[in-house]
Amino acid sequence: MSELYPTYYLYLSAFLFGAGIFIVISKRNVIFVLVGIELILNSANLLLATFSKADLNGQTFAIFSIVLTVCEVAIALAILLNVYKTHRSSNLDELNELSNE
């Protein structure tokens, strides 16, 4: 049972990553895309915590990662809010002002 112990975490992490990728690809709304990105980040955090069972380095790094993620999300939401104010839209396909098409 103990040898198989990390395996379940890896399955969970892979599921989170897949779900995050799916959300990022399939959803048009930027909010959902951010949620998907959070899921992908959290799958990575879960991997960090899983593989640092012997020491605390990995778990500490995971804590730092979560804090950074919070900052990143706050900044992303702020940008998103401004973009929404300018373009009255939060749809990724319409936010293509930088494109040359």
Binding site: I21, V24, I25, S26, V33, L92, N96, L98, N100
Partner: protein
């Protein structure tokens, strides 16, 4: 006075007089009449002093000369034209008194006289042709004088156009003569003219002189004012053709002369038969002119040009007398609107109202019929005897010509007798006539009529009433008709017999009260085919019109064919366009297509590769994942 100035004055005075009358306006003026009278006096002087033929040439264009030629016949005919013109002028002063455009009338009359005189003295054929056409246009203007009426203007047009057809032939003949003889002067023609030019010249003369098949126009020309009819029929226009034939006659091809004689005698018969049943007094006289012109043309054809010219001369007097007399009658009856003033069925008994006219009609009518003691007898005998003598030397069938001519004498006497009986004898058949204000026979009417009647008796020409030529002949410049004495006596006897019979028959059939007369007077238009043919003059004018229509239809048919050809060309053009379109499509699809296909393939490849860098961020992620998975697969399994 030298002779050039004399001729020029004679020629130009009528024209100047007419023009000044025209320019000076509407009031009753006599300038034209006085000038024509002077011109007439000068022509008499010219006839007296002219010894030898007068010839003159002048350069008209570089290397092109025109010339005039006045010999005794020409001078005499100048006098005749001037005299008839003078009488017509005098008569018209009374006849056209009420007409608002009288000044225009006299201008045209002067122009007509001028043209005819020019034609008489022209020596150059081109100059003659010019005056020939001037005579044509002047007659057109005068026939269509009352042009406001549709029928009149169309009749004038028909008269003009029928003449044009013949004139084309004349002009062709003139050019051919120039080609073969090298000279256009009649006085310089020294050898016989070839067959074809002779024929063309003859056709031109037939047109002007209203011979078959051109006779129709002369009857149509009756719509003009009556003095004009007198002028056209007596001295101008129709005389032009006879005069031309007289001038060139000695040089014409002998076969053509036979044709001319044949056409002449047929026309004489045609005119006489058509005149029998006419109800319109002017139409009787018109057909009789056609018939008499036939005699003259026949005379030319049998080589008796002098006799023809003599007949032209006498005919001018009695026909002008008859026409002016008819003008008096019509004017007299014209106030009656209830009936046609030219219809003889409504006349009768006019000898009491118009005694002068009656006498003139008697004298002139007898001259037309060829009764002895009249001028017409002498001149007609000359032609008949000449024709007989000609046939004698020619062969059996040639007797056809004098025989038909003699039959025509009978018919001529019959129709003119019928006219006189119907118009003057008996009682008036129109009741209202007594209420009419009578149109008087005043001096303007009487003098011309009396002079014309005087010119129709034998004494003026020869003391012997049975002679066939005039004592004036050598003076006029004509040689007397020489003839076999037997033929002369036989022709004279038969002719007297026939003309008297004709007159008696006419009197017997149409005398007032006879059953035939009353049946005729109550009858309407003829219904049988023969009767219709005769009263309409063989429908010649309808034939002309049909001819015009046929040409019109033919041109329409040609237009149709052209359209078909156009359609074919159009088809070819459209085919070309379609073919080029097909080639264009081939170009576009196959040639361009190959190039475009390669370009499209390159574009497709570009698009596919560009998809990696799509502007849609999610696609970028997908591509990223695919690449990542591919790389993983490559690392793990290879």
């Amino acid at each position: 006075m030298n002779i050039e100035a004399l001729i020029l004055l004679i020629l130009l005075l009528p024209l100047i007089g007419g023009l000044s009358d025209y320019l000076l306006g509407h009031s009753r003026r006599f300038i034209a009449t006085v000038f024509v009278a002077i011109s007439f006096g000068l022509t008499l002087y010219l006839v007296l002093i002219l010894e030898n033929p007068y010839l003159a040439k002048l350069e008209w264009l570089p290397d092109f000369q025109i010339g005039i030629h006045v010999d005794k016949p020409a001078a005499t005919l100048l006098a005749l034209v001037a005299f008839i013109s003078l009488l017509v002028h005098l008569f018209s002063h009374e006849y056209m008194k009420e007409d608002p455009s009288k000044h225009r009338y006299f201008a045209k009359l002067g122009f007509f006289t001028f043209s005819m005189m020019g034609l008489l003295i022209a020596d150059n054929l081109i100059l003659l042709f010019i005056f020939w056409e001037l005579v044509g246009i002047a007659s057109y203007l005068l026939i269509g004088f009352w042009f406001e009426k549709e029928e009149i203007s169309s009749s004038a047009r028909m008269a003009f156009m029928v003449n044009r057809v013949a004139d084309v032939a004349l002009f062709a003949g003139i050019l051919m003569i120039y080609r073969s003889n090298g000279s256009l002067f009649i006085s310089e023609i020294d050898r016989s003219i070839l067959f074809l030019p002779s024929l063309f010249i003859a056709i031109g003369a037939f047109g002007k002189s209203a011979q078959l098949p051109f006779s129709g126009w002369l009857v149509k020309a009756m719509v003009g004012p009556t003095p004009i009819s007198a002028f056209i029929h007596a001295a101008t226009m129709v005389a032009a053709g006879v005069y031309l034939l007289f001038r060139v006659g000695p040089f014409l091809d002998s076969d053509v002369l036979v044709v001319i004689a044949l056409i002449g005698v047929l026309t004489a018969l045609y005119g006489a038969i058509s005149a029998i049943t006419q109800n319109d007094i002017k139409k009787v006289l018109a057909y009789s002119t056609v018939s008499q012109l036939g005699y003259m043309v026949m005379g030319i054809g049998v080589g008796a040009g002098e006799a023809s010219l003599f007949h032209l001369w006498t005919h001018a007097f009695f026909k002008a007398g008859l026409f002016l007399g008819a003008g008096v009658i019509m004017h007299h009856l014209h106030q009656q609107k209830q009936f046609d003033a030219q219809d003889m069925r409504f006349m009768g008994g006019l000898r009491k109202k118009l005694p002068w006219t009656f006498v003139v009609f008697l004298v002139c009518g007898f001259a037309l019929a060829g009764i002895p003691f009249s001028s017409g007898f002498m001149s007609k005998e000359g032609i008949l005897v000449a024709a007989w003598a000609w046939a004698d030397g020619f062969g059996t069938w040639a007797y056809l010509i004098p025989d038909v001519a003699l039959i025509t004498v009978l018919i001529t006497a019959f129709y003119i007798g019928r006219l006189i009986v119907l118009v003057f004898l008996g009682e008036n058949r129109s009741q209202e006539i007594s209420k009419v204000i009578v149109f008087g026979e005043n001096g303007f009417i009487k003098i011309p009529l009396a002079l014309l009647a005087l010119g129709s008796v034998w004494l003026v020409y020869n003391i012997n009433p049975l002679a066939h030529h005039s004592l004036l002949d050598p003076f006029i410049g004509l040689s007397a008709v020489s003839s076999d004495s037997f033929i002369s006596i036989a022709a004279t006897g038969i002719s007297i017999l026939l003309s008297s019979t004709g007159l008696l028959l006419a009197f017997f059939f149409f005398k007032p009260g006879s059953s035939f007369s009353s049946r005729y007077l109550s009858s309407g238009e003829p219904v049988s085919i023969g009767g219709k043919l005769i009263i309409n003059g063989l429908y010649l004018t309808s034939i002309y019109r049909g001819f015009g229509t046929a040409i019109f239809s033919a041109s329409k048919a040609i237009t149709w064919i052209e359209k078909q050809i156009d359609g074919f060309l159009h088809f070819i053009a459209v085919g070309g366009v379609v073919l080029s379109k097909v080639i264009a499509i081939f170009d576009r699809l196959i040639i361009d297509g190959l190039v475009n296909l390669s370009a499209w393939l390159a574009g497709l490849f570009g698009n596919v590769t560009r998809g990696v860098h799509s502007s849609q961020s999610q696609w970028q992620i997908i591509w990223l994942l695919i690449s990542f998975v591919l790389i993983l697969i490559w690392i793990l399994f290879f």
